[in-house]
């Protein structure tokens, strides 16, 4: 497993000091999720891989890990989609454009995009799982010529909980991506698919198992069922990727909180190959 080394991402001589960054825009996505556009103090790109995360700090309150949901190809800023879930995220939700947060990172091991170059890509996202892969989606669309076929399946619990609605509309219209959505619980206006995300597999054309890279990000319950579908289409385990979530404090492989069996999710993950995960009993439960 690769252990990335990139000490330049820390300020001064402390691993734990965040650097100030300005929120330049806040967009309300759903009742509980906002999209934050953030610019580092002094500007400059964050320099991340899709799938990596940052530790977002509010000094005096605390810190929490959040996936970067914009593509590294967008240089001037980066974006975070943050769900109100507890103490820190609650306070982040009280902030507006112009306010400051602290940022540590990028941290963790993301998607190694060069491994995907030249391949067909299938992304299956459920719920908040769309956030970490949005970075990859944007990257693929920005660098479209480097990839083969691109299938994107996205399931949300209800239409109101569907994230990135503007993106969703754009992706629907975009010929460069074979995009399908579904919701578990439709409302009156919903005219799309209903059912869990695996039901969208019927929308897929025949896949070329050895040329397809499959990426699965979503809640643990979804994960198992999607893996079955993907492996059922003969995609080799080494070509299946997923992203794990764990409690995290330090984000740099010291504090022990994110350990799942013998991996540190913040170092070796959050993005893993399914092949690697299989051995981890705790990872997939």
């Amino acid at each position: 497993m690769p252990l990335i080394e990139r000490t330049s991402m820390y300020r001064g001589d402390s691993l734990y000091e965040p650097r100030p960054a300005e929120i330049t825009a806040v967009e309300k996505l759903t009742a509980d999720e906002n999209l934050y556009t953030i610019r580092l103090d002094g500007g400059g790109p964050l320099g991340h891989d899709p799938g990596q995360f940052v530790q977002v700090s509010l000094v005096g309150i605390g810190e929490c890990p959040i996936s970067i949901c914009s593509s590294p190809t967008r240089l001037e800023h980066f974006q975070l989609c943050i769900r109100r879930a507890g103490e820190v995220t609650e306070h982040i939700h009280r902030l507006d454009a112009g306010d400051t947060v602290g940022i540590r990172g990028p941290l963790g091991h993301g998607f190694q995009v060069h491994e995907l170059h030249g391949k067909d890509v299938l992304i299956v996202a459920g719920g908040l799982g769309i956030a970490p892969v949005r970075s990859l989606i944007q990257y693929i669309l920005d660098e479209r010529s480097r990839f083969g076929a691109f299938h994107l399946l996205y399931g949300a619990r209800s239409p109101a909980e569907m994230l990135f609605q503007t993106d969703v509309i754009r992706w629907r219209e975009n010929k460069d991506v074979n995009f399908h959505t579904t919701v578990d619980r439709p409302d009156e206006q919903w005219r799309g698919h209903t059912g869990v995300v695996t039901t969208l597999f019927q929308e897929l054309p025949k896949l070329d198992p050895h040329e397809t890279m499959a990426i699965i990000v979503g809640p643990p319950v979804m994960f198992k069922f999607v893996v079955l579908e993907v492996l059922g289409r003969r995609i080799p385990q080494k070509n299946v990727y997923c992203s794990l979530e764990r409690r995290m404090k330090c984000g740099v492989g010291k504090c022990g909180h994110c350990q799942a069996n013998n991996v540190y999710v913040c170092l070796e993950g959050p993005v893993f190959r399914y092949g690697e995960l299989k051995a981890l009993r705790e990872a997939i439960g």
Binding site: G60, I61, E87, E90, H91, R94
Partner: protein, 247 residues
Amino acid sequence: MRPRIAIFSLTSCEGCSLAILELEDQLLSILDAVEIVNFREGMTERSWDIDIGFVDGAVSTPEDKREVEHFRECCTKLVAIGACACLGGLNTLKNYQDEDEYRAYVYGDCAKYFPTTPAQPISAVVNVDHELPGCPMVKEEFLKFVTFALAGRTFKLPEDPVCVECKKKGILCLYEKGIICLGPITRGGCNAICPSYGAKCEGCRGIVAEDALKAAGVNLREQYDVDLADVLADVRMFGAYQEKTLP
């Protein structure tokens, strides 16, 4: 706007209210940061427009019940302070005795003038927003609570048992001296003050988790040959014992 604070007492020793006055080093900063608008023990003025009301004491009379209901109405946030208010405290020891008998024992013929009810934590009567247990409450925790409130943060009680604090302080575990200590099953946050002064933890901050109490039932009988009745008596001292959870 500084939050408007009140401090009330029900059936208690008022040690918890007093503990606030024992924050001598911080008292002036506290008075800068909040406005105390109702505190019978310390001031004459009284207002009933209250943001945060702290209550020590258990509910053990019909009058207590009326009072705490009144506090609830007047306070945006109601905080139980001390073992009495959070768990019922020592007052609950009377609940295990016959009411007529104990009333007569203390007040003789005059017992009829002292209406009493089984002692209860205030959460048994009204909705409580936060609890700061301990006998007395841990004054540093009170300070932390106030700081959190000022910062708009939600205060959460520590979820680890007292033993964690003994280890952090590097003190000798009382079990090594053959003393049965309630630390492993008691909610920490007191900085292990009793073991630090050579005395066993008496459980005044309540039980940390039900599974710990279950483990105690197994261990003390099987590993230490302790009479369960004695353990029960220990855990009852501050009202921490919950009948249904013991094996």
